[in-house]
């Protein structure tokens, strides 16, 4: 059981080393000639006007908020789905209620216009 995770850990290490090995090889062979124009931010060939790091539009975060709710739901959902065959009718009813509440939330967000891109 634990050895399964040993492999995942090893694999993660290999997967993490690999990009850095790539960087290292490239570092040895690539030219390094920075100049002020080259290290300017690309904006279609013009000097950028203003800053890119601004207080960004809130719309994107609204989706992230709704996502968090549904992602938590999927955490509950997977154990339920896996054990479904061993559970009785009770599990079905319970999950219906749970999903019903979530769908209510979705409909609420929908009606409130949180899912409408402005």
């Amino acid at each position: 059981m634990l050895s399964d995770y040993v492999f995942i850990g090893l694999f993660a290490i290999v997967a993490a080393i690999f990009p850095f090995a790539g960087f290292a090889v490239s570092y040895l062979v690539r030219p390094k000639r920075p100049d002020p124009v080259k290290s300017d931010v690309y904006e279609c060939g013009m000097k950028p006007i203003g800053e890119a790091w601004v207080q960004f539009k809130v719309q994107y975060y609204l989706y992230a908020l709704i996502f968090v709710i549904f992602d938590v739901m999927s955490v509950f959902l997977f154990p339920w789905a896996v054990a479904y065959h061993t559970l009785g009718l009770y599990a079905l009813v319970e999950m219906c209620i749970f999903l019903g509440i979530l769908v209510g939330g979705l409909i609420y967000a929908w009606r409130k216009g949180a899912l409408r891109w402005v």
Partner: protein
């Protein structure tokens, strides 16, 4: 003959036995695990290199061109030339960038793209690690990509990058939910989250037969997660130039490029395992080495489908994309899960035969498709009443 029929696995065991003679057993195990990880990573790298060639060739054929044909026979050495070129290219870095974030992002994206393969079964007995939460592991690792993409977009200090990163976050989050739900119905039917167990459960019948809707939802969401057309808005070249990786060049860009193709491969591999029976196929029991061929054939079939879509369709707008996810795919996947649960329980109570159960699943899926088509048609009618006319009338003067 028996050795040849399961060549790869037997070869592997043979090496392990040889090593065992002059190493302590724990060291052998460690070396073999390490070697397995390296083999998988190298395999993926080669796959990705030739996926880029495959994509260029297929897109070229669809567009009535020849595609790369200068470097090597049929352009076969083109990916190697590309890789070399990217490695020896200078890395430009904006002076205004958030340097640590900017430099770390390609490494994170490459690592996140590779990690799912620790649990993916390539063939019978050919799996890195058969953990009992394989599906959950793959889902959670692939959402790491979102963080890397946001790091890249934000770290470059570029407005196109920031816009692309923001789009990527909104898009990947939104499609993650129906994706998880469509997998939920698979978990429900097979009673497991282990990828090997899910594959084994499809020995008689592929799950796509019982779950066509879940398959479609998964494929759409997977394409969106992998930033494939028509969902490639975070890097839309005609709008945001290159989106989140606009400031990257050289080897750093190469890792973004690589990750994109690995993600496409992951999506296809997962769809194959979950719905198309993974490595299952005729004669797998007798000749296990066929299993990896079946697996790769199915995966490449789906990859081809994705390339085909990319060569054919325009891309959607971000609001339409999010609407698709939240207002069509999410309700559809939810309904599918509920219907699956109900049908499964009822079938178990009534003791239907398995063929009949499949038929009932088909029927319920058809009903679902009908309901969705009806709802879409009604909303389409409403839109039409608001002035969106599908058939423009040309007047002749």
């Amino acid at each position: 003959m028996a050795f040849l029929s399961d060549l790869l696995v037997n070869l592997w065991n043979w090496i392990a036995v040889q090593l065992d003679q002059f190493l302590p057993s724990w060291a052998t195990a460690l070396v073999m695990l390490f070697a397995a990880a390296v083999v998988i990573v190298v395999f993926l790298l080669l796959t990705v290199m030739f996926l880029t060639l495959l994509e260029r060739k297929v897109v070229a054929r669809i567009a009535d061109r020849i595609g790369p044909n200068r470097v090597g026979p049929f352009g076969l050495l083109q990916p190697i030339a590309d890789t070399l070129k990217l490695i020896i290219k200078e890395n430009t870095e904006p002076a205004k960038a958030d340097h640590p974030v900017f430099r770390l992002a390609p490494a994170v994206v490459a690592t996140a793209a590779l990690m799912p393969y620790a649990v993916i079964p390539f063939g019978r007995g050919m799996v890195g690690s058969d953990v009992n939460i394989g599906v959950l592991y793959v889902i959670s690792i692939s959402s790491l990509t979102v963080i890397a993409v946001l790091m890249a977009g934000w770290g470059g200090g570029n407005k196109y990058g920031v816009l692309g990163g923001m789009r990527a976050v909104a898009q990947m989050f939104s499609f993650e939910v129906p994706l998880a739900l469509s997998i939920g119905s698979v978990a429900l039917l097979t009673g497991s989250l282990s990828l090997v167990a899910i594959t084994e459960a499809q020995r008689k019948l592929w799950l796509i037969v019982a779950q066509p809707i879940a398959f479609l939802v998964y494929l759409l969401c997977g394409a969106a997660e992998a930033n494939r057309a028509p969902f490639d808005i975070p890097e839309a070249e005609s709008e945001l130039v290159a989106g989140y990786h606009v400031e990257y060049s050289g080897v750093r860009f190469a890792f973004f490029y690589m990750a994109e193709y690995i993600n496409m491969f992951t999506t296809s591999a997962m769809a194959t395992i979950l719905f198309l029976g993974g490595w299952q196929g005729p004669f797998v029991e007798r000749v296990p080495i066929l299993s990896i061929a079946y697996f790769l054939a199915k995966v490449y079939g789906l990859v081809f489908l994705m390339i085909w879509v990319r060569a054919t369709f325009p891309r959607l707008r971000i609001d339409q994309l999010l609407d698709l996810s939240w207002k069509v795919l999410l309700p559809l996947a939810l309904m599918n899960l509920l219907v699956t649960a109900v049908v499964d329980k009822v079938a178990a109570q009534v003791r239907l035969s398995s063929t009949l159960t499949i038929g009932v699943f088909w029927g319920s899926n058809l009903v679902l498709v009908g309901v969705v088509a009806l709802v879409l048609y009604l909303s389409y009618r409403r839109k039409r009443a608001r002035g969106l006319n599908p058939h423009y009338q040309i007047h002749w003067h």
